[in-house]
Amino acid sequence: MNSPFNFDPITLSTAYDPLRQEVREFIKPFRDTWSGWKFAHSWGGFDKEFSKAVGAKGWIGMTWPKKYGGAERSHFERYVVVEELISAGAPLSAHWVGDRQSGPLLMRYGREEITQSLLPRIVSGELTFCIGLSEPGSGSDLASVWSKAEKVDGGYRLNGQKIWTSGAHLSDFMIGLFRSGTDKDAPKHAGLSQFLIDMRSSGLTVRPITDLTGEHHFNEVHFDNVFVPDAHLIGEEGNAWQQVVSELAFERSQPDRFLSCFVLLPMLIDRLDGPDRLAKRRVGESVADLVVMREMSLSILGQLEAGKVPAQEAALVKDLGNTYEQKQPALVRELIDAAPYIRPSDPLSDALGYLTQSVPSYSLRGGTREIMRGIIAKGLGL
C-alpha cells in the first residue's frame, strides 16, 4: 500500500544480548547510589565521572572510526547501550551532545586536524559539548538567527547572543549557528554557518537561567567580539542550514525522545497494592505504547543505517514519544494518588517530584510539538 511514511520492521539481533547484560552490570553499582531526584534526570543529568566511566567502557563514540578513538561498532549496538543507560536513569549529559550530535557533525563536516584532536577526547568522556541555536528572538523560527559571524583575518569574529543553551556553563565547546552572509535579500535559510567555539574564548560570557524546577541547566551565552580561527568553521560557509537539518532525523527518533520518564514505570508497578482493573488497563496501555514506539524508533535506525533520511518518520516518533513521556507523571499520579509534596527518602516521590515539573520542556526541546506537526503535515502534502 502506498504510504506517506515507512516503518519497515527491524529485529535487534540476540547477538547483542551479552552487551546488554554488560551495560546492566556496569550501571548497577552507580544506580544504587543515585537518589530518585537524580535518576529522574536520566540523560539530562550531568555527571562527568560517570561519563568518563562510560567512556572507559568504549560506549561513547562507539560507532566512530578507530582513528578517532571509536570502536567501529554498529548503530544497533549503540542503540542497545543507549536504551539500557536511559531506561536506568543514567546521567548522560556530560557526553550526550558530543556523542549524539557534535562528534558525528565534526566527522562529517569538520577539518581533519580538529576532528583528530577532539574526537578521542569526546570518546573518553573528557569533553562536553553544547549547542548554540536559539536566540532571544529566534526559537522555533530558527532560521531567523541574527548573531553575526564576520570574516576577519585568519578567522571570524562572533557577536550576538544565544539563549536556552543547555549545559553551556559545564561545556568545553559549543557548536554555534551564526549568520555569516551579508546579502539582505537572500532567503533567511541561506548565509548561516556553524562554528566550533571554545567556551574559554575571550569575549564569551555565560549567564545562568534557573528553570522552574529550581535548577540551573540552561544559559544565556553572550558573544562580544569572540574570535574563532578559520579551522573552526564547520563545513561550508553559508551551508549550515542543510547541515543542521541532516542531524535531526537521528536526533529525533532515538530512545531519549520517549524514555525520559521510563524510570517511573517500574517503581509505579511495585507500588500498586492489589491493582484494580483501571490500574492494569493504564499500565497495559503505557507498555503497549512503549513497545510499539520502540519498534518505530528501531525501524528509523534501520533506515538511517541503510543511508536513508527518514525525516518525516523521525518527526512523527518525536511527537508520539514526547506526548508519551509527558503522560507518565500523570499516570503515576492517577494510580497511586500521589500527594503534592516531595519526599526525598522515597525514590518514587522524589522522581515524580522532579519529572512532574520537568516534562513541559519535553515537547519544546529538539523542536516543539507544533514544529513536528508542521513537518508531518507538510510531508502529507497539506
Binding site: M1, N2, S3, P4, F5, F7, P9, T11, L12, R20, E83, S87, A88, F262, L265, P266, M267, L268, I269, D270, L272, P275, R277, A279, K280, R281, R282, V283, G284, E285, V287, A288, D289, L290, V291, V292, M293, R294, E295, M296, S299, E313, L316, D319, L320, E370, M372, R373, G374, I376, A377, G379, L380, G381, L382
Partner: protein
C-alpha cells in the same frame, strides 16, 4: 522465505485489485442491508487466502502471519464486506487441532459452550460475526476441563440476529444438543484467550488498513475544501489534527507488524495485547479526527467515510476491546514486578 514473501505480496496485490474493481458504495450498502455478495466471496476465496495460514501438507498455502499482514491490511483498507480474515483464522485453528480445513466461509464464536457426554453441544455463543452467511460456524465447547473446537453446520444452529456497528451480519448462536460435523480438543497450549487473540490480531491489522485509507482521504478533502477563501489544509489547526492522525496511522501499522511477528513466534496472546491495545486506541482517536476534518458531509449516509469509521468501532471491540487487552497486558506486567519490566520490553 523470499518466495513466500513474493507469493504473499502477490496475493495482497491481487486482492487489492479485485476489491478495488468490485467494491462500490452500492455493494457495501447492499451487504449491510443483508444481501451477502456471494460472487465477491467466491472470487476472494479463489485467491487462496482462506487457507493461507494452513500448512501446505494440510492443503493450505503455508504462509506466516507476517506474510499475510499485507493482505489483512488490504481487507481493512477496502472495508471488504466478506469474512475472509475470519475464515482464514478458523481454518488455521481447525488445522492446528488436526482437523481438515473447510470449503466456504467459517464464522467463529468465542464463548465456551458445554460438550455433552453424547457428543452434542449445548449453550450459547454471543455475538458471532458473520455466522448468518457462513455455511459453517466454529464453536468452543468444554468437557471435563478441556476445550474442544466444534465445527458446526450453521443450519443446525439457532441464530438470533444482532445489529452491529459495521452492519455486517452477526448473531447470538444457540446450540441445543447439536452434533458437530468435526471435533477436536484444542492443542495443548491453546486456550479460549488464545483463540480470541487470533481475531484480535486480525482486527489490529484491519484497523491499520482502514486507517491507511482514511488518512489520504482526509488529506485530499482538506486540500480541496475551501473555507474563508482558502483550502482548509492551510489552517494550522487542520494540519496539526492530520499530523496527529498520521502518527496514529503509523503506530497502528507498527502495531500490526509487531503482533503478526509475535503470532509467528507463538506469542499470539502477547501480540494481541500490544497490538489491539495500541491499534484500538488509534482507531478511536483517528475516527474522531477524521470526522472533525470532514465536517457535516462526513456525517452523512451518502459519504463513504462512515463505512470505515463504523468498522473501526466494530473491530476495536469485536475480539476483546483495546481496554480488555490492555488489562491483560497490565496484569501480566504488574504480576512480574517492576524489575522485570525493562528486560521484558526489550526481549518482547
Amino acid at each position: 522465505m523470499s518466495t513466500e514473501n513474493d507469493i504473499a505480496g502477490l496475493i495482497a496485490e491481487q486482492l487489492d485489485r479485485l476489491l478495488y474493481a468490485e467494491l462500490t458504495p452500492e455493494k457495501r450498502k447492499s451487504v449491510e442491508e443483508g444481501q451477502f455478495d456471494d460472487a465477491l466471496w467466491r472470487e476472494c476465496e479463489a485467491l487462496g487466502l482462506t487457507g493461507a495460514l494452513v500448512s501446505e501438507s494440510a492443503g493450505g498455502a503455508g504462509l506466516s502471519w507476517t506474510d499475510i499482514n499485507p493482505s489483512l491490511l488490504v481487507i481493512g483498507k477496502h472495508a471488504a464486506p466478506v469474512p475472509l480474515g475470519e475464515t482464514l483464522i478458523a481454518n488455521r485453528l481447525l488445522s492446528d487441532a488436526g482437523l481438515e480445513m473447510v470449503e466456504g466461509a467459517v464464522a467463529t464464536g468465542f464463548d465456551v459452550l458445554s460438550l455433552q457426554t453424547d457428543g452434542t453441544v449445548q449453550g450459547m455463543a454471543k455475538c458471532v460475526s458473520w455466522t448468518p452467511v457462513c455455511p459453517h460456524t466454529l464453536l468452543l465447547a468444554e468437557r471435563e476441563g478441556r476445550i474442544h473446537l466444534c465445527l458446526m453446520r450453521t443450519g443446525d444452529l439457532t441464530l438470533s440476529a444482532l445489529k452491529t456497528f459495521s452492519r455486517e451480519p452477526a448473531a447470538d448462536v444457540t446450540c441445543n444438543g447439536v452434533k458437530p460435523v468435526a471435533i477436536a480438543a484444542l492443542a495443548g497450549d491453546l486456550s479460549q484467550t488464545t483463540v480470541l487473540a487470533h481475531f484480535a490480531i486480525l482486527h489490529t491489522a484491519q484497523i491499520a488498513g482502514a486507517l491507511a485509507y482514511i488518512l489520504p482521504l482526509c488529506v485530499e478533502y482538506a486540500n480541496d475544501r475551501v473555507q474563508f477563501g482558502r483550502a482548509i489544509a492551510k489552517f494550522q489547526a487542520i494540519q496539526h489534527a492530520l499530523a496527529q492522525l498520521a502518527s496514529e496511522v503509523a503506530a497502528s501499522q507498527a502495531a500490526a507488524v509487531f503482533s503478526c511477528g509475535k503470532a509467528d513466534t507463538g506469542a499470539v496472546e502477547y501480540g494481541a495485547m500490544v497490538g489491539m491495545s495500541r491499534a484500538g486506541r488509534a482507531a478511536t482517536l483517528s475516527a474522531e479526527i477524521a470526522h472533525q476534518v470532514f465536517g457535516a458531509i462526513g456525517f452523512t449516509d451518502e459519504h463513504s467515510l462512515h463505512y470505515f469509521t463504523r468498522r473501526l468501532w466494530q473491530w476495536r471491540s469485536a475480539a476483546g476491546s483495546e481496554q480488555w487487552w490492555s488489562e491483560q497486558l497490565g496484569e501480566k506486567i504488574i504480576a512480574a514486578g517492576g524489575d522485570a519490566l525493562w528486560p521484558h520490553i526489550v526481549a518482547a
